[in-house]
Structure formats: structure tokens, C-alpha cells
Symmetry: C2
Subunit: 562 residues, 2 copies
């Protein structure tokens, strides 16, 4: 038995409240090292004749990578308290008890040795809005989705789709353009829109905010936005906005005031300024996003800044009834700020969704006190490298996805924002070198996975595009130029996700077979007695494979496509 | 190279801000598996010709257990941001780069692969009061320290020290008794007192609070307490009180109101009541501390309860100038409560100390948003089992202490509350089966260790006592019955801790030699060029040992005693 591989530490994904009654406990062991792992558990105060009273429960192996196996179990402690340890039976015949104080031959008598989940508190339990689990998102880059009101188009605006996107050109996308095309979203089955920034800013991407309280006039006015939200809600579509709170734009009023008034500006503490007077060249003498001089970093520990940004967060919920905030560069803002932000947002709308942009392991932000979810790039990386680029082997892919599922608690995974691409990456069709079948596999995998999937506008009708700015082309509205087959394929998958409970978040995901040679992966989504088996052939040719899970079982073929 | 043993996850003790400029990064590897480990690191936005710019820095092996080595390094990122990975050179000649996405042969080009410390925020940095690092605590059980005002002694009170302590007897300890004996504390070098509960309650231990706003009359009135705090402060002694907020006592007014008025009580939501009418027998139909019916658990998520307890927290600071709160059963109260509590307390007194009673691994509470420290029982267990009970081997002891030092960040360890015993355990002399030499080793180890040591009243003059109630005997004030040699021994150690910077928190602790056969441990405390070498013989007889660290070096003998 490899002791160094055995790992558990209370909290994070290893011990957490799944809801207000059930605890999930997980153990990591070396791959193929254990015959069985069981949980030894009991109430910390339950003694009879000075002997601690405990029970034992078998754990289930929920996934394996090339290095590790993961074992999980769910328990429901009557008095919300738990002490526990792990009974490990090695394939080598050795048996060990793994506790907070290390390894023992027998369950130790001293209850102080055991791991501790002190008390299940509802208020500390990670709880995301219920509706998110069933949402299919659609990301819109507002300048490029639809030009519904040409009178708003900037003077330098180009004819829709007449040129390639550049970092500085404009095409006049606006809210009316979105309203005009809501049928498209409704038809395919979208139930949530994530809008890139809509607030007043100079650039076409609007990440350089001038005024967080104003809509950029090229998109329309507040009445049009209000109408847009209402129309979305009538169609069962939620609306999420992009909050760019890490930094302002150069023309943000407060920053302009500091540029003008220097040390005597009342806004001088709104930023991280090293010395006065402010300079932007050759290098800025203040903290910025990256090294971008026209994106000065806001001091989100300053009470006045907090107050302003919290007002912003409240305003768009209370006045326009939006349903969520996506937080730009979320991990470069302090957690103290996000904890207060969460309270402000949930007070304004108890079931608003808070989604952080973090490209990395995000466990610290997903403990229930900050975000409901993060943009799940670890999922993206595996899916894109395997199905999209075919640069990853099937076993590596299965490992990476198994890791994704075991790096966070289950309730976190269920609302994770699973994107394949975005305004920050190349489009999937381009990543897949134009091979549509790979795009289909990507969608099939994304839409049958745990979490909440997001489609980047235009991908569903076969748009291509390289890295920013290539991925920000105008939406193609000429049906003759749209890939309607792909559209219908995605539509069908979304429908299945809605119709078949095991297809979406209610089914448990597990790889069943990974055929390295044939580049085929087989996985299941399981809910009670219902087992959905997915057989994905990542090779360019048709292949035959024996699928163990389908042998001698009554099965129905739900779907077969190229 | 054993990949399964290599572990790092951003935050917790593995990656943290030590202060507002420096990050500490740690890696775990299999014991004796690596020749060298280095950190590869750089600013995430620092690219030249599309190549990420990084540096490399050797890490230091700061400790080893039978399973693992621990490697640490400190870096100071110019722009407060860091991406990093680990360059591992195995003793087997293999070299691997360990990243957030697993292992690579060469540093990967994609910066997304690296571990991420997104931004060092002062407001998120764990920061405990500076004074705590240099404090030597003394724990007083108020009913048993000194009877200075016999008029306050309860009617059933017994003559001081005339009987063994029982769960229910009284001896009349009071505040005047503490004031009368402050010389004793000052003489030995104490700079902080931790008082067990002083609020109105029926029992002799006062953990069954009746009124959090009132002092128990047997201890004195508020004026006497105010005087006590003042006298302590004049002598450079801080005062910490015990906050029993997990549960109230049976006679707490609000609980009495619910008992009387049932469902119509305005306090019915102050507790976790299952149904009405309330019953205490045969089993309570409400949540309790353990299964103790007369300690009903408070609902600390209820705003009215929070408000009351926060008022309590503020009141004793603002009105009586206390310096800290020790939080009883701290891990059974929700973290949301403690986060607000911290803000309330630090607003009332910015350098107040917040100490949680947690017997287990406490990382979740020590992230900067909740507690400044916990009662460091993992330290206690190792020290007691090795020096006290001699039930642990020297190698196991060294492992357990090395684990303690590597389970939390360094800034957490520096203010950890290192106790050897308390009102909840047997006294050290009793644990050491009456062998005074073992008690001396315990004190030597405790007082030369990282953290903030606490002496349980009476231990320093050789009092014995078993588990509660045995450990709660009346303080022995007859100097003829006090062990003055032990007293002077402890006094000398405390003085050395104050005089020699490397002796206390400024020195880095590391085991140098562990002689399993002779039961001798050798450790160092190192600060710059100054190295203190401690040679502790845990065997009952004198032994000779070659101490490598003392070979061919100029050394001064600071201390030699039995």
C-alpha cells in the first residue's frame, strides 16, 4: 500500500456539505492500490461505556487517473456532526486505518485521532441558484451579434460582416439586434445569455469602462435594455452581465480626475498609485491590469470604491432585473471584496448567479462565501485538446476530465460554467482545423457533461475565427451561409439534456472504457437504474468496438450521428 | 521519482502571503526522493517575443517525516502576481516540471499550465496582532486561582485547598485573588492571561452562561474587573476572556423564555428547536452541545443572536479594554458568524487577538478572515506523548512536530497558542507520572518552539491533577509547598525567550538529529548567523552523544539542567 498517495484533508472537495443534510467524503489513493475503502464514522459525542460508537460504510470508486483512484461516499449525520477515518484494504492484503494523525493498524480509541467535520451549517454550505443547473448559456459579444438599430451605429461603423474584425473596428451590434434574434436562441433551446460588457466605454469590447452606471450609447438606451431583459424573461432566458471591477478604463471619471488633479484628487486612493504626478509613459507609475496603462487597477479595499461598485451591482439587478454577474479577472480582486459583493448581490436578488472568471484551480473562491461558479477552463482544456485539436491522447483526456470532476465538490461541479471557447480564445471550428465532426463531438461531450454549458455566439452555425480579434466576427444571419445541420445537431442535444434527466446534471459521470489505440472513449451518465452510455470515436474513420457496458443488456439507441 | 507523493495546491500552507510583500511557496515530495527542488516563477503578463519570462530559485528543505520532505522558498513579486511551477531533480537522475496540469519534461510554453497566485492583497493576508508573537500566556481558572475577597465566596464554599476539586464544589476564587497575586505572574515573566469564563453562571466552571453582560458575582463586580485589567496592563500583561457562544446555559434568559412561552416566545428562533413544547428529558428535543441538555446550542445564523453576541464582544473590549477573545467550541459555530465577529472585534480594537478552540486541523479558520490562532493541540499531542508520557518514539515525535510546522503557514505558526495542558486535560506533572525532569523537558521544548506558549496555572510550581475535575484544584500559595526550583527553571526559560531573538519566534526550527536508540532529539533555532542548538535527552539516565552541529564550531553553553 502506497502511503504517500493516500490523501484527505477536511473541507474543499474532500469533505463538504452537499446540501443541508448530507456530507460527502472523498479519499485519494494510488491507482489500483486498494481492494476496498470504507468510511468509519460516528457522532463525536456518542460514547457507550467510554467507548466511541462508530459505523462503517463502503465507499465507491468514482474515478481513476494514471496516478490515483478516488473514493466517495455520502453520509447524513443525525446531529450534523461527524468524526471519521478510512479503513483501507490494500490489494496486497494489508489493512490500515487512515486518520488525521496518520496510519493505525486498528481504529484508534482516542477520538482526537479522527478527521473532523465539526458541524454542518446551512449558512456555510455552498449553495448556487437552483435554476443554473438546468441552464444552457449563450455568450454574446454585443458589438457583433446583430445590428437592429442602424441609427446607433458609430460613425466609423462598417457594413455588417463586410470586413474582418480588428481590435478597433465597429459594426454596430446593439440590443435591438439581440431582441430581433431571440427566436434563434429560443429555437435552439438557450435559457441564459451571458453578455460581454455593455457599459459606456470607447473600445469595441467595452472592457475599458468609462461609466458603470451607463449603457454604451452604441448599444441603445436603458429602456431598450429593460425591454431586452423582459423579452428574454418572457422566453425563459436569464440575463447575465459582465462586471469589470478589477480595473477601470483610462477615461473613467475618477481616473481622469486623478490625472488632472494629482495628489489633491478626491479619487487618488481609488487606484494603486506609486507616486505623483501620474505618468503613463514609458511605464505607468500605478498598478494596472497586466501592463496595460489604460486599464488602471481599482483599489477594491477602499470603502468608497467598494460602495460605488456595490451600487453598480445592485443597480442593474434592482432596476433592470438581471439574473447574474460574470466577474472579469475575478482572482486579481481581493476575496474580502467578493465576500461583501456576494451579500450585496444575494440581498438584491436571492437567486442571482455569481460567476468568476478564473482560468486556474479555483477552490478558494468556491467555498460558499464568494462565487457560485467559475469559468471551467480545466474542462475546456481537456475537451479542446482531445476532441478539438486531437493533440491529447484518450487516456490523458480521461485523466484530465476525471481530475476536473474530483478537484471540486459535486455541488460546485453541477453549476460550473463549461465553455468550449469565448471572446478570449479561437473558435472551436478553427481549433478543430475546420473539421465539423470534431465540433460535433465537442458539443456532444459538453452537453452531456456535469455543469452548465455555454455556447459562444455563432459557433452553433459553424462560424470560424482565430484568437482575438478573429473570434469576434459579425454573427452570420444569412441562413444560406449558416450550417443548419450543426444548428439542428446542437438543438437536438439541448433537447435531450432537457428531456432525459440522466443526460444533464442529475446523472453521475464516469468513464467506462478508454481505448488508447482506437482513440475511443466510452462514458456513462447514470441516474438510479437508468444508464446512458456514450461511445465517442475521436478517430477520423468509422471503427468497431465492443462496449462492455452494452453487452447482454437491453438498450435503446438514442442517437447516432457523424 | 514518486509522482504520487508530489503535492502542491495554491493557498493554505502551500502558497500564501507571509506579509504584504512576500509570498511563501511550499512543495511536498517523497522523503529522500529529490536531489534538489527549484521554483520556476515569473509575472503572468511578462512576455518577450511571445515567450514568458521566468526565473528560477532553489528551494530549501525545511523538514522531513518518515513519508515526506518539505521544500520552501520565499519570493517577492514586483507586481504582486505570480505564476510558478516546480523543477524537481530526483536522486534517480530524473528531472520533471510539476505544474497545475501535471508533469512535464520541460517548462511548458503555455502559461495556463502554471500554478497561480493571482494577486497579493494586504486585506486578504493573514495578519495577527504583532504583540502576540512575544507573549507568554498564563491560563487561569478563576474559581481556583486566589480567594482575595472572602465576602464573595459562595455559601457552600470550602476552605481554600481543603478538598479535592469536584464537578460541583466551590472555593471562592475571585478577581481580587488574581490582583493579589499578579506579582507571581510578573516575576516569572507572564505577559498575557487567558481567563476561563467569568460571566454569570451557576457552575464553578461558568461554561453554562446565564448572562454574557454580567460578571458572576462570586468573582467580583465590574469595577474590580476593570481594576484587574488596568493592573495587568500596567505590568505589561494582556487579558483574554473566554467567549462561550456555541451554546448558552439552561438559565440563560432567552432559553428560559422559550421554556416558559414555547412557540410564542420571541426567542424561539435563538436555538435549534425541533418541536414544541420543549423537553429536556429523556432526551432534549433541541440541538445541544454534545448531548448536554442544559447547554442548548445557539442559532448563530439568526441576526438577533448575532447582534447580541457581537454586542457582548464589543462591550468587554470597549468598556473594560480586554485584549482578546478565546472562542469556546469554535468549530461548531458557522464560519459566516466568525467572519462578522472578526470585523466587529477588530473594529473595536484593531490589535485584539482572536483564538479559537479547535482540537483538530484548523486550516479553514486560519485564512485571515476568521481567527488569529487556534489552541494548538497537534503540538500538544506530540509534546505530551513524547516528553510527558514517553509513549511515543523520538522519530514519531519529530515527525509529528515537523507535520505541525508544515500544516500551517509560517505567520500562523508564529501566533499559534501552544498549550501543554488545560482545564480540559490532566496536568503535565500527572501526565508525566510525577517525574519533574519530564516536565522540565516539556517546558524547554514549549518555550523554545515557534508560537506563543501558555502555562496552565499552578503547573509552574509543580501542581499535579488528573482529568477534569482533578486539574482544577486550588492554586498552592504556600511557598513551602511550591516547587520553587521548577518556578525558577521556567522563569529562566522565559527570560531566555525574551533575551535571545532566535529562542522565540524569530528563529527557524529544524530537527538536526533524532537518535531513536538513545531517545535523544537535537534541534536548532536559527536566525541569520546565530544558531541555537538544543539537545534534549528524553531517557531517564544521563547519556553521551556526538552532536554534529557542535563539531568544530565555536559554541557557548547557555543552559544545562536536569
Amino acid at each position: 500500500m502506497l502511503k504517500q498517495a493516500i490523501y484527505h484533508r477536511a473541507l474543499n472537495q474532500f469533505a463538504y456539505a452537499y446540501d443541508d443534510k448530507n456530507l460527502h467524503i472523498m479519499l485519494q489513493t494510488k491507482k489500483d492500490d486498494m481492494e476496498q475503502v470504507s468510511l468509519i464514522y460516528g457522532d463525536p459525542y456518542d460514547f457507550k461505556d467510554e467507548e466511541w460508537q462508530y459505523q462503517t460504510l463502503k465507499m465507491e470508486k468514482t474515478g481513476s487517473t494514471n496516478l490515483f483512484d478516488f473514493w466517495k461516499v455520502s453520509v447524513k449525520p443525525t446531529y450534523y456532526r461527524l468524526r471519521y477515518a478510512f479503513h483501507c484494504e490494500g490489494v496486497d492484503g494489508e489493512t490500515l486505518i487512515y486518520t488525521e494523525r496518520g496510519f493505525y493498524q486498528e481504529p484508534p480509541e482516542d477520538i482526537g485521532c479522527y478527521f473532523c467535520f465539526p458541524y454542518l451549517h446551512k449558512v456555510d454550505t455552498f449553495t448556487a441558484p437552483e435554476w443554473v443547473k438546468d441552464t444552457v448559456w449563450y455568450q454574446i459579444f454585443p458589438e457583433r451579434f446583430g445590428n437592429g438599430d442602424p441609427t446607433l451605429t458609430p460613425d466609423e461603423g462598417l457594413e455588417w460582416g463586410s470586413a474582418k474584425p480588428t481590435p478597433t473596428n465597429f459594426f454596430g451590434g446593439d440590443f435591438q439586434g439581440v431582441i430581433d434574434h431571440l427566436d434563434h436562441l429560443e429555437e435552439i433551446g438557450i435559457t441564459g445569455i451571458y453578455f460581454c460588457p455593455i457599459f459606456k466605454a470607447h473600445s469595441n469590447h467595452k472592457y475599458d469602462t468609462i461609466d458603470y452606471m451607463e449603457i454604451d450609447p452604441q448599444f441603445g438606451d436603458k429602456e431598450t435594455f429593460r425591454k431586452l431583459v423582459k423579452e428574454c424573461h418572457q422566453r425563459g432566458i436569464r440575463v447575465m452581465l459582465d462586471a469589470v471591477f478589477n480595473h477601470s478604463g483610462y477615461y473613467f471619471e475618477s481616473f481622469q480626475d486623478v490625472l488632472k488633479n494629482g495628489e489633491s484628487s478626491r479619487y487618488k486612493d481609488w487606484f494603486h498609485i506609486w507616486d505623483f504626478p501620474l505618468q503613463t509613459k514609458p511605464n505607468p507609475n500605478y498598478d494596472t491590469f497586466g501592463f496595460v496603462a489604460n486599464m488602471p487597477k481599482l483599489d477594491t479595499a477602499n470603502p468608497a470604491v467598494k460602495e460605488h461598485l456595490f451600487d453598480v451591482a445592485r443597480y442593474w439587478i434592482e432596476e433592470f432585473d438581471i439574473d447574474g454577474w460574470r466577474l472579469d479577472v475575478a482572482n486579481e480582486i481581493d476575496s474580502a471584496f467578493w465576500r461583501e459583493f456576494r451579500q450585496v448581490v444575494k440581498e438584491a436578488k436571492s437567486d442571482a448567479y455569481i460567476l468568476g472568471e478564473i482560468w486556474h484551480d479555483s477552490m478558494p473562491w468556491l467555498q460558499g462565501d464568494q462565487f457560485d461558479a467559475v469559468m471551467n477552463y480545466p474542462f475546456t482544456n481537456g475537451a479542446i485538446d482531445f476532441f478539438g485539436k486531437q493533440s491529447m491522447k484518450s487516456i490523458e483526456f480521461a485523466d484530465s476530465i476525471t481530475n476536473v470532476l474530483h478537484m471540486y465538490p459535486q455541488n460546485v461541479n453541477e453549476v460550473s460554467f463549461n465553455l468550449l471557447d469565448s471572446h478570449d480564445t479561437a473558435r472551436i471550428l478553427t481549433l478543430a482545423k475546420g473539421v465539423k465532426e470534431r465540433v460535433r463531438l465537442l458539443y456532444l461531450f459538453q452537453l452531456s457533461f456535469i455543469g452548465t454549458p455555454c455556447i459562444y455566439y455563432g459557433d452553433e452555425i459553424g462560424m470560424a475565427g482565430g484568437n482575438d480579434p478573429g473570434c469576434r466576427a459579425c454573427m452570420e444571419w444569412d441562413e444560406n451561409k449558416q450550417d443548419r445541420d450543426l444548428f439542428n445537431f446542437v438543438k437536438k442535444l439541448i433537447q435531450m439534456r432537457k428531456d432525459i434527466p440522466a443526460f444533464g446534471n442529475r446523472g453521475a459521470f464516469r468513464f467506462l472504457q478508454v481505448d488508447e489505440e482506437k482513440d475511443i472513449v466510452v462514458y456513462e451518465k447514470k441516474l438510479n437504474q437508468e444508464q446512458l452510455v456514450f461511445v465517442l470515436n475521436n478517430c477520423d474513420q468509422a471503427q468497431a468496438i465492443d462496449v462492455d457496458a452494452l453487452q447482454k443488456k437491453k438498450s435503446i439507441e438514442l442517437f447516432e450521428e457523424k
